[in-house]
């Protein structure tokens, strides 16, 4: 462990991050808002600490891959904390330190759970800042998931890379990580620009279009309105949102391969994408059916059903209707679909589709083994065989996910007086980086106790860092030299 060099890297990251506060400052200046001072102070503090760390600590040591765990966690915790500064400093918003950190981490992890209400009346610079945090978070996640976590030996992407069939198989996308990150950044940026243009063509004003494009491609779910996308009440907007949510929930490595080689059929050949589209279709049809049979709920069951299914199942969390009030199994079904989430290596949260797919295939294999006791059945994804080592990792991840979910569920019910549905959906929504839950947290998390919020902050972090990155820090063996 090289603490000095780790601190130094964190310092550099912080100073870079401080620059991003200049953008909301510009927005505040543009709209002539008083929040400009808060952003200026936050910028000053973040930049100061960052520069202090990066210049004071001098070290020539090289980073080892084990240091990566600590850096990744510090990166999220550090940015989450310093990113909370503007929200905490602004008078109008009046957020406690817990709320500010909750909001900022919810943004950076692209969860989209909010404690803020009355969004429509807030200064535009703050709204912009929240959306911008999600966008940054989304970009961080992709680089993290596609480039950094595999180096640490964790995560869906490594599994994806090693075991998936076809184009992405043996590629580190480009020979160098910086190049990979750059390529991914271009795709991400291009997608955002395209999304913003589509939104504005669908009728949003420029500010809303840009802000919503940020949270759409990041699969975040923050909105500039309390009513979320329901505010616009436009089929066009919902259609654009759905398209980009699905697009952003696809592995960015696959995007890279498909775009750089101009082969759109890579998408249809990919089993994870197929599984995701299949799940989306299934869930939407079920939800539509339920809505159709209860005509008193909504006037347009298919529009609402499909949009809500896509938004929740990709773990985005935009809403056009309060789905927590929908009848029968619909809300639970949506929440469960969010557990499967999007593809590995995308901005979506959840268990990741490829893991769910592998667990399903493994189940199928056990059945076939019972029928043919002497049979040899490898788990295959397309044409490629998944090694037992990877299957073990997937099961380990699944077990840890479930266990952590249960522990947090119990903890929330122990420390604060909430009903089971609320606790269940709150932990689920945060661990899956989804956002809105059911019951008391259907709209926002403002009513929850401080303890609950801290547990949920931990849930968001764990979900985003694929659990083991954070969990490994909690083991004594990690700290032993």
């Amino acid at each position: 462990m090289h603490f000095s060099v780790i601190l130094r890297v964190t310092g550099i990251l912080l100073s870079l991050f401080s620059l991003t506060m200049l953008l909301p400052m510009a927005v505040a200046w543009l709209y002539n808002e008083t929040t400009i001072s808060a952003f200026a102070v936050a910028f000053g503090i973040t930049a100061g600490v960052g520069l202090l760390l990066s210049t004071l600590v001098r070290s020539g040591a090289d980073l080892r891959s084990r240091d990566g765990f600590l850096i990744t966690v510090l990166f999220y915790v550090g940015l989450g904390t310093f990113g909370a500064l503007p929200l905490w400093l602004i008078d109008g918003a009046a957020l406690s330190i817990t709320d500010a950190i909750f909001e900022s981490l919810s943004g950076l992890t692209t969860t989209g759970a909010t404690v803020m209400t009355g969004l429509d009346d807030l200064p535009r610079s703050i709204l912009f800042y929240r959306q911008f945090l999600q966008w940054l978070g989304g970009m961080g996640i992709i680089v993290l998931a596609v480039a950094i976590l595999p180096m640490l030996g964790i995560g869906g992407m490594q599994l994806y890379r090693a075991e998936s069939p076809g184009p992405v198989k043996d590629t580190k996308l480009t020979p160098r990580i910086t190049e990979t990150a750059k390529a991914l950044w271009y795709i991400y940026l291009g997608m955002t620009v395209l999304c913003a243009i589509c939104y504005s063509a669908a009728g949003m004003d420029a500010f809303d279009a840009i802000c919503h494009s940020f949270s759409t491609v990041a699969i975040g779910g923050f909105s500039t309105h309390d009513a979320s996308l329901g505010y616009f009440d436009s089929t066009g907007v919902e259609f654009v949102a759905m398209f980009f949510m699905i697009f952003a929930a696809i592995n960015f490595g696959l995007h890279f391969a498909a775009i750089s080689r101009r082969r759109p059929n890579y998408y249809t050949r990919d089993w994870e994408v197929r599984a995701m589209l299949g799940t989306l279709t299934l869930v939407s049809s079920l939800v539509c059916l339920i809505l159709y049979r209860n005509p008193e709920i909504t006037d347009h069951p298919f529009r609402d059903g499909i949009f809500q299914a896509v938004s929740i199942a990709t773990t985005t969390g935009f809403t056009t209707a309060n789905f927590s009030l929908w009848p029968s199994v619909a809300p639970v079904l949506l929440l469960l679909a969010a557990f499967a989430g999007g593809c590995a290596g995308s901005t979506a949260g959840g268990l990741k589709m490829v893991r769910v797919l592998l667990i399903y295939l493994q189940g199928l294999r056990e059945v076939r083994r019972l029928i043919h006791p002497s049979g040899v059945f490898p788990v295959k994804l397309g044409n490629a065989t998944v090694s037992d080592r990877v299957m073990g990792a997937v099961w380990g991840f699944f077990a840890a996910y479930v266990l952590i979910f249960l522990i947090m569920l119990c903890a929330i019910m122990l420390f604060s007086d909430v009903d089971f549905i609320t606790a269940f959906s709150a932990v689920g929504a945060c661990l899956n980086n989804l956002g809105p839950g059911l019951g008391d947290v259907a709209l926002n998390y403002a009513g929850q106790t401080t303890t609950t919020k801290w547990i949920l902050i931990l849930a968001m972090l764990l979900g985003r860092l694929e659990i083991f990155t954070l969990l490994v820090l909690l083991t004594p063996a990690f700290w032993r030299r």
Partner: protein
């Protein structure tokens, strides 16, 4: 004709044996002196010891005045380099090579004079696989071979009680099935051939060879025996190259199980197969067979590389209730021993390979040739050019040697079953059946473009 064979493995030695009997000058090259000595003692051939791809070895083997090179060593790469060397240094006219690895196949223009100069690629595993596949598609057939790109097929089968034609004269066939034209090319009764004529009565247990357009094959077959249900459930014993490639090519159409002994190989083939079930176990394990419902299996194919295991497992499968069994047998001596007994079909890999090479060593314009009945009989598709002796004659007037039948003529896309009044035109593909290989020379003469016409 001088033929140079590289590699004295199974395929190489069988080829040498077959061709040496037919008055070709054979030289065979191999690195193993013991194997060469054994061949030299048995056959009238020349042998050269050494690495088959080296120019000096090839020169010693007489590559500079060889008419045909057949490279069948174990290694694809050695075969390719040998062909390249012979082409570049010795200008050998015809180069045939065995290329096993599928990665080399299907690359357009790769095997051409400008790049890798190989004229004919052979792949024994593929040849065997195709042969088995055709048998699976025609339940009840002992042998199925293609002519004219699959438009015409020659089928060998056993006549059984219950077939409408059994016990009747052959001419009854035309009355009974006017829509499906066919020609019976040969009938073998108790191992000897009898010339099929209109008044020949088909007896049960006769081995009948007939030629018909591919779409009529199943209808004609049903004349000689009760209609067989199509095969559905196939068990393949042995997951070697042949077993795997067969399983891969049929797993979409049939329900396939593959039994393989080595756990590593099991893993490997399981990875390459999509629907087929791979079972780890011994091909002769009775309990495993029972567990996997051998009694409901339509066809049990024993395709391991061990003749004895193949025979024993086939016998066991048959005893346990498999509907039909097929056995891959390398040793020629075993083939005659088992076929026609408990084992329904015996397949010889060497025969399949030799078959695929035959058309290239025949004189005259032979589009395709197949060996039948363990190499004793032969069927050929010959192109009749302008001034050959057969052209312009009605089939009934052609003076065919004994034991040779013309089965069909393919003119463009049209299939004409050979009745006596059909006249052979130039560029017709004539499909002939010879009960005995010794008739080949006489047939070649019929189709030779004679000097006298100039």
């Amino acid at each position: 004709m001088k033929i140079l064979i590289l590699g004295a493995g199974q395929v190489g030695s069988t080829l040498a044996e077959n061709l040496a009997q037919e008055a070709f000058d054979i030289t065979i090259v191999d690195q193993n002196p013991a194997r060469l000595a054994e061949l030299r003692d048995r056959l009238d051939i020349q042998t050269v010891e050494g690495q088959a791809s080296h120019p000096d070895v090839l020169r010693r083997a007489g590559a500079d005045d060889t008419d045909m090179l057949i490279a069948v060593t174990n290694s694809d790469e050695v075969n390719m380099v040998a062909c390249q060397v012979c082409y570049s240094l010795y200008r050998t006219p015809t180069k045939i090579a065995r290329i096993r690895n599928a990665a080399f196949h299907g690359r357009d223009g790769f095997f051409s004079q400008d790049h890798m100069p190989i004229d004919v690629l052979i792949n024994p595993e593929e040849a065997v696989t195709t042969r088995i596949k055709q048998l699976l598609e025609h339940p009840g057939a002992l042998q199925v071979v293609d002519f004219a790109d699959g438009a015409v097929q020659l089928v060998g089968m056993k006549a059984f009680y219950g077939g409408p034609l059994v016990g009747h004269e052959l001419s009854f066939l035309r009355e009974h099935m006017p829509q499906a034209d066919t020609r019976v090319a040969a009938i073998y009764r108790r191992g000897t051939s009898i010339a099929p004529r209109g008044d020949t009565v088909v007896e049960p247990d006769d081995e009948v060879f007939f030629i018909a357009a591919t779409k009529h094959i199943n209808a004609v077959m049903s004349e000689f025996r009760k209609v067989e249900r199509p095969y559905k459930r196939i068990v393949i014993a042995g997951g070697g190259n042949i077993g795997l490639s067969l399983a891969r090519s049929i797993e979409d159409k049939f329900s396939v199980k593959v039994i393989e002994y080595s756990p590593e190989r099991c893993q490997k083939i399981a990875e390459r197969l999509d629907h087929a079930v791979v079972l780890h176990g011994d091909a002769t394990d009775k309990d495993l067979m029972l567990e996997e419902n051998i009694e409901h299996t339509d066809m049990f194919c024993a395709l391991t590389n061990d003749d004895e295991v193949n025979i024993m497992s086939s016998l066991l499968a048959k005893q346990l209730g498999a509907r039909q069994v097929m056995t891959l047998i390398g040793k020629p001596a075993y083939v005659d021993l088992v076929q026609g007994g408990e084992i329904d079909i015996a397949i010889s890999p060497q025969q399949a390979t030799t078959s695929s090479l035959l058309s290239h060593v025949r004189r005259g314009d032979v589009a395709r040739a197949h060996t039948l009945r363990r190499g004793a009989a032969e069927a050929m598709e010959v192109i009749a050019h302008g001034d050959a002796r057969v052209v312009g004659k009605a089939i009934g007037d052609i003076d065919l040697p004994n034991g040779v039948t013309i089965g069909a003529i393919v003119r463009g896309k049209e299939v004409l079953i050979a009745h006596d009044n059909v006249v052979v035109e130039p560029e017709d593909h004539v499909i002939l059946f010879m009960v005995d290989k010794t008739r080949v020379r006489a047939v070649e003469k019929l189709f030779q473009v004679g000097f006298g016409f100039f």
